[in-house]
């Protein structure tokens, strides 16, 4: 049935074909920073997935039931980012109380999740592609899976970088960007699989 097929289509295109990190260049700040170790990457990926899915549902509801009836679509950027920021701050306060170990590991990156480009981009794309609620959730879930995939791939490679000879000039960030370039070529190959 074509309903499920179009949902799968959205999921695959968000996670692989139009990967948010390698093709659309979103959320690079945390991508570069949080991939020093595998559990950092997974911890960050998990939190971002949760926040992205919840934020995209929240912003969909706010958009459809407040902005559209009053024809104030132009407020979408600021209303979305405000809801996302407040939502992330609530998650931060909750994490600090309930799971202090994860809170310590996240360090500076927790408030930066609020400004993670991907979450706002997902909310905005839900509007421009005028998805319904189910499609929007699948889209945000696909996008965050793509993000976690990118984090895990790079974290894996970066952990092995310690045992490898790198020319001194490329030490630190340049080598990471070179690796990202080659992974991006691989992801570009996937671009045709989902319309």
């Amino acid at each position: 049935m074509s309903e499920l097929q179009s949902l799968m289509n959205i999921f695959i295109s968000a996670a692989f074909a139009q990967n948010f990190v390698f093709i659309r260049f979103l959320a690079l700040c945390s991508f570069v920073g949080m991939t020093t170790s595998m559990e950092n990457a997974i911890g960050m990926g998990g939190a971002v997935t949760f926040v992205t899915v919840m934020a995209s549902i929240l912003s969909y509801v706010v958009y459809q039931f407040i902005l559209v009836p009053l024809h104030l679509e132009y407020l979408q950027t600021i209303v979305f980012i405000l809801t996302i920021a407040v939502f992330v701050q609530l998650v931060e306060i909750y994490l600090k109380k309930a799971v202090p170990s994860l809170y310590k590991a996240m360090g500076i990156y927790l408030p930066l999740i609020a400004t993670n480009c991907m979450i706002l981009a997902v909310a905005l794309l839900n509007v421009t592609e005028n998805y319904n609620l189910l499609e929007a959730t699948v889209f945000s879930f696909g996008a965050s899976i793509g993000y976690v995939l990118a984090l895990v791939i790079l974290a894996g490679i970066r952990e092995r970088l310690k045992y490898v000879q790198i020319p001194s000039i490329l030490k630190g960030y340049p080598i990471i960007f070179f690796i990202a370039a080659f992974i991006a070529v691989a992801f570009m190959g996937l671009q045709g699989i989902a319309r």
Binding site: Y74, A85, P111, C117, Y173, A181
Partner: protein, 204 residues
């Protein structure tokens, strides 16, 4: 006065937002397919950065601690929306070229970073100079990457043919992997210049 110039110079070389502090990469890699786009993005970016840093440092005393992030976000968000409305009205083709990256200026990590680290602690004039320094620093990087990618990937600069008509451009540089490569090279160059050589420890 010297201190202010220092802050301005700081933003360009010593603490270049992109190459040293490694922030704001999303917009740089995505938009720098041509110099015109890069200039447009710098224009939008500096408008929002200067506006936000000034407003935040004006009201920095009266921001309660728990509301710090939401207030920053509302101020930056409103400047971004004003900028995107103005762009849609007066520069429609730039708006189409930059597309989704105009609203994404609000989550540009440099603006949030500078506002939190600098503007919420320093006086208005210092924030102004810091914002100017950062915008120039950001502009230099994005325009240089834009130029490289446009010349190699498209064979044109600002739209004019550079290598003659039958040069088939190395498309690689317009596509996403090229962007990663170019910024990697640029960081390597800056590392080489600014790196402190490991000197042998002198005894005695």
């Amino acid at each position: 006065m010297r201190n202010l110039i220092n802050i301005f110079k700081n933003g360009i070389i010593k603490e270049n937002p992109v190459l040293i502090i490694m922030l704001g990469l999303c917009s740089i890699l995505a938009v720098s397919t041509s110099v015109v786009n890069a200039l447009g993005m710098t224009l939008a970016f500096s408008f929002v950065l200067i506006g936000s840093e000034l407003t935040i440092s004006l009201i920095r005393k009266s921001i309660p601690k728990t509301l710090r992030v939401p207030i920053f976000i509302v101020v930056i968000g409103s400047f971004t929306t004003i900028m995107s409305l103005l762009l849609q009205a007066f520069l429609p083709d730039l708006n189409k070229a930059l597309g989704i990256f105009i609203p994404l200026v609000v989550v540009n990590c440099i603006i949030i970073g500078r506002v939190e680290a600098f503007a919420s602690k320093r006086s208005v004039i210092e924030s102004l100079f810091d914002a100017l320094g950062m915008s120039v620093g950001y502009g230099i990087v994005i325009v240089s990457i834009g130029a490289i990618r446009e010349i190699l990937g498209n064979g044109t600069i600002l739209g004019y043919q550079v290598f003659g008509p039958n040069y088939n451009p190395a498309l690689f540089f317009i596509l996403p992997p090229g962007a990663f490569l170019v910024i990697g090279i640029e960081i390597a160059i800056i590392n080489k210049i600014l790196a402190k050589p490991k000197k042998v420890k002198q005894e005695g």
